[in-house]
């Protein structure tokens, strides 16, 4: 119980991490200081000119959308911890709390400028661009000249809220056994570099965009980017102890189902901003249309999952219905703006069916994904992207497929390399003793529900 050698090394590493952070902060600082005079002056003076009217509306809407995306992180936190055991709840919540914080900071330092390098800053074809460290703007960034729909700061905020989502998805697939440090290192790098890099291909105006690939709000760019890493992570870290016994699959039940419900409703709510905000303006027709397709797909996902689960499992499983809602939402995300209302229902319904089957199939292959992250985000992300090729007017199935495969390829390689590097340096998995006693005690020395008498196994 004394501080031993490994722990000392860790303190050192934390120090280095802190140093890097300070550097990073410094780099934002530098950039921003330069621009500060300009930007703040303009802030102080920005007059509510008539020409600003539509801009102000759009910007207000986009800020609200950013809030909604923000609250999705709470949704992820509650879904994930609820679907796992009480003895790991603190650990899961810790990760889900740090992810948006780290995500926003790294996005300020590098992510935003990797993802939206701007025309002149492509370094390598239209495959990799970067416009320097830190966030800053001049007075123009606060006017419609920057973008008719939002200011520079709103842009950063909305996109920054999106960024952390990818890492959160991974968290759900590797939880209850991955080391805290390993996860934090992996997800910091994945969210700082991989997510914005792949995202730039389409949303940053890169090569996929040029090819006509359509991914409205990120079935591929957000959800399957997270989903691929979740798959790689779940495979590399291995199944939880006791999940697969010789010949059988033993269910490991979520400890707090009401919390999962809270999370799914918050995610649905957040999706109004995720999809609605991806219109990038408050255009009444498009935004409201997107909200309707989004809601109907979510609803159909619930119904699809309910019927499938009722059929296959004999009794309707609430966690499947909740996954079904998320499946419908992930599915409609790529094409919410270009598919018809009935198509949105069909996409959602099939996503809800798919997700249930996928959860069962994953267990067949002994890939242990405690919350169904791969089934929801990867399977339905791919499904939704391809569905645009089927029902989206004027969209090509093949271009969609190319986008799916290209992103998948990049993400799998990147996640593999990162996870292997982390494994080599720190190790991925906690000791079996820690896993049995729970990561809350092992990683944090505290319990989520100390007042209640509970079971560790039954």
């Amino acid at each position: 119980m004394s501080r031993n050698g490994t722990e000392k090394k860790w303190s050192m590493r934390i120090g280095i991490f802190a140093a890097l952070l300070v550097l990073a902060v410094g780099s934002i600082a530098r950039g921003a200081e330069e621009a500060a005079g300009a930007s703040e002056m303009s802030v102080a003076h920005s007059p509510p000119l008539p020409s600003n009217v539509m801009f102000t509306i759009h910007n207000t809407w986009m800020m609200v959308a950013a809030f909604l995306v923000f609250i999705m992180h709470l949704g992820f936190a509650t879904v994930e911890s609820g679907l796992n055991r009480a003895k790991n709840a603190v650990n899961i919540l810790f990760k889900n709390t740090m992810i948006p914080a780290i995500g926003l900071l790294t996005y300020a330092v590098v992510g935003f400028n990797l993802m939206y390098p701007g025309e002149g800053n492509w370094l390598l074809g239209k495959i990799l661009g970067f416009s320097g460290f830190g966030i800053r703007t001049d007075a123009v960034g606060l006017t419609p000249a920057y973008n008719p729909g939002y200011t520079y700061w709103t842009d950063f905020l909305f996109q920054g809220m999106f960024a952390a989502t990818a890492a959160t998805i991974v968290s759900g697939a590797v939880c209850e056994r991955i080391k805290l440090k390993s996860f934090l290192v992996f997800s910091t790098l994945y969210v700082a570099i991989v997510y914005p890099w792949v995202g730039s291909w389409k949303w940053g105006g890169g090569w996929l965009d040029a090819k006509g690939f359509h991914d409205f709000a990120g079935s591929t760019l957000v959800h399957s980017v997270g989903g691929w890493a979740a798959l790689v992570g779940a495979i590399l870290v291995g199944p939880r102890l006791g999940k697969y016994t010789n010949g059988g699959v033993r269910p490991i039940m979520g400890h707090n189902i009401p919390m999962v419900v809270i999370g799914v409703f918050l995610l649905w709510l957040g999706w109004f901003g995720f999809n609605g905000g991806s219109v990038l303006s408050a255009d009444p027709g498009i935004v409201s249309y997107v909200l309707v397709t989004t809601s109907l797909a979510a609803s159909a996902g619930a119904v699809g999952a309910m019927l499938t689960s009722w059929w296959l499992q004999r009794k309707p499983d609430l966690t499947m219905v909740l996954n079904g809602i998320l499946a419908g939402l992930v599915g409609i995300t790529a094409g919410a703006d270009v598919v018809s209302v009935p198509a949105s229902v069909v996409i959602g319904l099939l996503a809800g069916i798919l997700v249930v089957i996928s959860v069962l199939v994953m267990d067949r292959f002994r890939v242990d994904d405690p919350v169904g992250a791969v089934s929801v985000h990867l399977v339905c992300g791919v499904w939704g992207t391809l569905a645009v090729g089927i029902w989206g007017e004027g969209k090509s199935f093949w271009t969609q497929l190319v986008g799916v495969l290209a992103c998948g390829f990049a993400c799998v390689i990147a996640a593999w390399v990162l996870f292997r590097a982390v494994r080599a340096l720190i190790g991925l998995r906690v000791s079996p003793e820690e896993e049995l006693a729970g990561l809350d005690i092992g990683e944090h020395g505290m319990e989520a529900y100390p007042d209640f008498q509970g079971f560790l196994t039954k």
Binding site: P251, M253, S309, Q313, D317, M320, V356, D363, G372
Partner: protein, 113 residues
């Protein structure tokens, strides 16, 4: 002095309590347990995999009594807990060497009641 331990169906606790009070047995200690016996258990399914749940929720009641109360106590428990269906539970009786009331330090059969 004897210790009577009963394992009953959780929903019968209020009835057993009432029956014990009627029999003038006012002291008891109750806890939650899970148990398996002749009841077969049931299946839970969670995310597509099936769990055989053979440990069912039960309630355990411990009552320390003087010899004369053994029979009435057992009868009261049976009266309160019996439905005639599998799962009704069991009563175990064992010997108690000593009983001490912490508050007063009294021992033996005075302490028990």
């Amino acid at each position: 002095m004897k210790l009577i331990t009963a394992i009953i169906q959780p929903e019968k606790l209020p009835d057993v309590k009432a029956a014990l009070f009627e029999a003038k047995v006012y002291k008891m200690t109750v806890s939650n347990v899970i148990g398996c016996g002749q009841q077969m258990g049931y299946q839970e399914t969670y995310r597509g995999t099936i769990a055989e749940v053979n440990l069912l929720k039960k309630v355990r009641i411990d009552i320390a009594v003087n010899e004369g109360f053994v029979r009435p106590t057992i009868d009261a428990i049976i009266r309160g807990a019996r439905t005639g269906k599998i799962g009704d539970g069991k009563i175990f009786v064992s010997d108690l060497l000593e009983c001490i009331r912490i508050r007063t330090g009294e021992t033996g059969s005075e302490a028990i009641g």
